[in-house]
Symmetry: D2
Subunit: 446 residues, 4 copies
């Protein structure tokens, strides 16, 4: 992975001149920890890549470190902030909300924090969603609940209407928690703000249960998702083992990236086939999935299959492309396709199998975060606040090489982070499952 | 509920003459606790019912208490036992296996315990399943695994072939863990044994995740099922609340009895509609489900619906009846029907909704038992052993009025235990959900 | 167990004349389920005991069934209710609070529900605790939190001051959630109310993590406590197995009754010694605990010991009796005593052991209820409301023979429920542990 | 943190000449993923530090990447391996064992894997511990159990005797899983092996529930420990909130490093004081802990305190230093000291408090790993096998900058990893708790 063409410059609304309240905290002592803008974290840690960059005369790219600054841009006593959560649910949304609110209130003394209901819809008058005042009291007990106390929605809204709304509410910092589409919208909102000459900071916190946002090594909720997915796989394994020719088939999230399927398959190592979007496979043919599945049943009597929702979309080619409210291509259901292909295959071969199909997606995404994600979200929320208070804008808070950093919003939406078919994760999945390429040799040309 | 016509007599293979090894336990002291055959537990606790029985001149029925007897029928040093688990998975199967094996081995000194693989198939030579020797070492670490270490299968097998197999293996006690169909087969096996003049005890342990076995107040695994179902409902509730007009629809087990759906709905009290087989409902019409669902959305913006798999089967009338391998009527999928009806209804009304459908069935049934079920299974397994060792046969170990009792096998398969539509459980569900009858007034006759 | 001298008559404040709002629920249909006062549940289910009662000419005692009545005593529109939680924490307190509040509000239409803070202290002006208005909004999200949103306290308060406070607040129904001491106080409060000629119903909901309230077959939170205790035992077992001569020693709650220790020991059956208050044991001597522990280590290399906090208090004889704020005798710490005795014993014998001592008490009592307790509390809270609304008083809501019933308050405080040393539970513990009597033979007299 | 003096060279037993079996896996296709020895991961990612190193003319240090090599040193068909787990229990031990065994067996075809029982004792004949043959069957179901199936022990053993034992058993690779002390022993064992001219690879897998091994960014089990610690803190918080002047005091592991206490405190952000070894504090005086605790009670009515076991050891100065079997200094119990100091302080002030003390240490360390640790251990075990098979020795498998790397054994035992009192973690703890320095001003000099 090489990132040399990445512009890591962070935009600001203007000079930060106000001494941070963190310099004189409530308990009367000077806080010791501040981060300067020239604290930067290198993108590359691979010695060879660094050497190559140097040989090419390209300066090693680095991200600005996240964290509290000594000088801030906004006057906390006058500042109004808004939070919005968009797109699909993800464990940790309430953690982020809580962390942002507690930090704004207790550390910076901000008293006007407005929760926008039901995603971007909440900005648009015609939907009639009321807003929600956020304070420590509102958020104190929300960690044990999944979902988002602000609700969410899918789909784009008119950017200018959103900015109109921000103006009407006199918002200074807008925290947007959402995935690819949301961050793209956030970027446009920041541009529209700039065009109007407004001083509103837009801070993104990447939310993706697929863990697929570019330049974000880890996204919140993913660890929790692996937890619950593992439980489902364990159940599928028990079902498969119990019955003669038992097959457990689990569909997991992963529209374009198979991180969840690949990672969960490693937790207990009792998965035999993992199918992900990044690695094409054949269903039929001598080395196709079905033939290999049959071999496994013959030799071991049971099998567990994990398929990411975005895998094998090429099998639906020719069908009409449809889009959901957010403009995402609607995926065809690979889980049900594979289920029916398995049934048909073994019926044809006259082999009786016991197939159990499990789709735990909604259970996974709607549960509360685990402790590890609690801690992670606690950092993310604080660093988002620090970034906004310092007058920075159009950035996302990311985790990279074990550090929290600022990444320009436009950079993270250029592409998806994907499982590298030649990398360690996928190689380990192949080792753990023992699965072959599941690809037939290319037909010889005449 | 009145049970006056119930014959509670337990059959025996012959007189128990051998002093129980429990009289002289390994630690050298005389065990104090034994149960006599005339220890009996009354079926009725309702004062009025008892008075009515008396007025009718009918003796109050009572079940034999389960527990160790002073005299046993089988000589432990020569005894061979067999265990088999049949039908669908259920939390606690491994607990029962472990409890039976530890009690036979450690307390009675039985050294030949044979695990039959994959349900009744394991008795039939043509399937070629090997058996599994069971000992304390084999079972010591199986509590944390769901499923059954013996495996299971669906479907009837030839009764005479099963008894042939028991004869070949010189089995003295057969422990059969399974549901309605398994217990019916067990009863026939016991009859065939009797016809051949064999001395083989057949002890049933009722397994039903639907908690629907007649004369069994509580069945193992049900409490665990409520636990996991509650988790799924909680997720559905979070999904429903998050989105404008959000609907969470959860399908739970319950072929003929809605205990799981009704009980799980009470755990958190955030369910708005519960649909079970025992209580008919209309989908359409002014007081039908769909109209009421729309009202709920109008007033509260979201709704959670729990439907038992056997509910509303009358909506499929006219369709062909199909049967599974076990001879059970295959249910039509009420969950998917209701899902499509909801979608169609709101599409027609021009109301945008966000519907999430969750079917956690396989996750529920394949997970390990919780502590409460661990304890319960520990008792069930021991009492099954005590019953078998004493030469009793054709009985199931049941829990009734908080006591473990022996119930004749033929009695429990006469009918299903059902949720009483006029009883406390359903009344409480109606209170907790606030749902109306969901029935339209009967059309007036001309 | 024989209960013939029990007066099961429930006191009332006066005739219930007002038609219940449940007759005409919000959804416009007549509720079908009501309970009459002559619905009664027999105490005895043992056939022999019933026969003996009959032979003695004693009528079989029976408890009034809990549940909604057709006529109520209080006018919901004018009624003010108060809730208080007292004594030690217990899983399910928030469930009870929520269930009572939702039932009062949604089903009966009561709008004034007052939460008393920090137990009985909350009634006494000098402590200065404010009260807390309780409504569906307040209680909707409290199920996932352990503890009590009302707080608690230990210790008696002046009964007359409490009644003064009830008068000042114009309370009609007081719900008191607490243990033995609290129910004794509740009884006195009810008497003082009666003496003053007031019309205030006092309804008790028994709370005891020891599961030791007389005439209450199951108390809320106990099932959850078994869950967490099992986790601790599992940890202790892992520690014990890992090290040469490893000993895991777990202290569990159980001041006078060893139900928690005995039940948790059955969940996984890897406990080797259970020590409870009801069954005396010797520490020293040839058949004492220490000698038996040494034997176990010699033969198996590790051991797990569970001790209830009230076990072996006779070893502290001669020491001063102390009392806590609630007037309970302060127990000496049997866990630490046994720990030190073990250390001394093996030091003397020159045997190196690895002892791990675990006391999970505060973790157990402060966690949220599990699903099973959620459901149970949901019933308890509703039935408490039904009882109060009907004008009954000085009763506790109990669970007996699988039915919810009313038990006169004075009856439950006459004695503790105890583990029967000759009964099934303890016999099963002896079977599961294989432990001997741990008593030396009585010395022969000269 | 600067690491410029670190020698990252990895020792080898000799040239690896044998083509890896992974080049021709069982499924007949060539594995694609191999790591070359010159793949290296830079230690530093902070741009300034890198620049400084460059300015100083010091080459940037880098660790060898872990992973499979194309050429291996040992002939799998003849190789014998040994595994040993030492020191205190830690979640994930069984995961590591399983991962190593599965990788050796399934991927490399090694058939002789010997489990050493009870730590280093297992090598020493006088203890008489038998060994345990390890195979896929042995390890397949151990993930759900805490502890270690091999057991453990504390304390040094004679290095030469250990090597004698390795010789007798013809071991080629020794996998040692343990903490600081174990890795120091491993280093000496490797040296003794070298002195004798033997060809035995010694591979360390760092185990530390304190997460305090130098040059190891993350150690297995730590994430699980945070999970369970969070549960305990949550309970303590509920206890504290419930009672007037309630104080919850939790002691967590952390002999020299407070990572667990600091991290767990961030999960829910309801901790008010965190005390760790790295940050000195005063108990008494105007800005000491006790005075601040009193202030907190005055203003908020309750407080939660987390103390790491190694904090405040200076308060025991003057007492005799004692050592445990492993030679570690025995820590004085700071938890009990603070408990008694709190009691004394408030008694003196005449303030009634309700203090609950919770020590969950043994529960934490003896439970099974969570999913995140399952995955992590799965990688660690495999990479340990790859390292050993390639003939490398005297290294530990570490995780650094999100990559698995080889670190020379001698480097990791030079010092402890510590919480940086001026770094982001501790600063965030201070923000989350709002605690002040808890240090009194230094007395002015005359």
């Amino acid at each position: 992975m090489r990132f040399e063409h990445i512009d890591t410059t962070i935009q600001t609304l203007g000079e930060a001149k106000i001494p941070s309240p963190l310099l004189q905290p409530a308990n009367g002592e000077c806080g010791a920890y501040f981060v300067d803008d020239d604290e930067r974290i290198l993108l590359h840690v691979n010695e060879k890549q660094v050497a190559q960059l140097k040989a090419d005369g390209i300066p090693a790219p680095a991200f600005e470190s996240a964290g509290p600054r000594r000088k801030i841009y906004f006057d906390p006593s006058k500042l109004r902030c808004a939070l919005v959560t968009c797109g699909g649910l993800c464990p940790g949304l309430n953690d982020i909300i809580r962390s942002v609110v507690l930090e704004l209130h207790h550390r910076y003394g901000v008293r006007h924090i407005c929760g926008i209901r039901h995603g971007l819809q909440g900005f648009i008058p015609k939907y009639g969603h009321s807003t929600m005042d956020l304070s420590p009291e509102t958020v104190t007990n929300i960690l044990d609940s999944g979902g988002s106390i602000l609700g969410s929605s899918r789909g784009d809204q008119d950017i200018e209407e959103v900015v109109d709304s921000l103006e009407r509410m006199h918002i200074g910092i807008l925290f947007m928690i959402g995935g690819d589409g949301t961050l793209a919208a956030a970027s446009k909102i920041a541009d529209a703000i700039h065009s109007r000459g407004l001083k509103i900071s837009v801070i993104g916190i990447p939310k993706t249960i697929d863990n697929d946002v570019f330049l974000v090594a880890r996204s919140f909720g993913f660890d929790t998702a692996v937890d619950i997915a593992t439980q489902a796989i364990s159940g599928a394994h028990n079902e498969a083992e119990a019955y003669p020719n038992g097959i457990g088939l689990i569909k997991l999230m992963g529209r374009e990236s198979g991180f969840l399927a690949a990672t969960a398959a490693l937790a207990r190592q009792d998965v035999n086939f993992v199918l992900i979007p990044e690695v094409p496979f054949d269903l039929d043919g001598p080395n196709g999935f079905l033939e290999n599945l049959e071999k496994r049943l013959t030799h071991r009597g049971h099998a567990v299959v994990v398929v990411a929702e975005g895998a094998g979309q090429e099998f639906f080619e020719g069908r009409k492309k449809m889009h959901d409210a957010s403009g995402n291509v609607k995926l065809y259901d690979i889980g049900l396709l594979i289920k029916s292909k398995i049934v048909a295959h073994f019926k044809e071969r006259g082999i009786s199998v016991s197939l159990k199909y499990i789709d735990p997606s909604y259970i996974i995404r709607s549960l509360p975060a685990n402790s590890n994600d609690h801690v992670f979200c606690s950092f993310l929320g604080r660093d988002a606040v620090h970034a906004g208070m310092s007058g920075k804008t159009k950035l996302v808070v990311s985790h990279w090489n074990n550090h929290f950093v600022h990444v320009p919003m436009d950079q993270v939406i250029t592409q998806r982070k994907k499982v590298d078919p030649d990398g360690k994760l996928w190689a380990t999945v192949l080792e753990a499952t023992g699965q072959s390429s599941l690809k037939n040799p290319a037909p010889k040309k005449a």
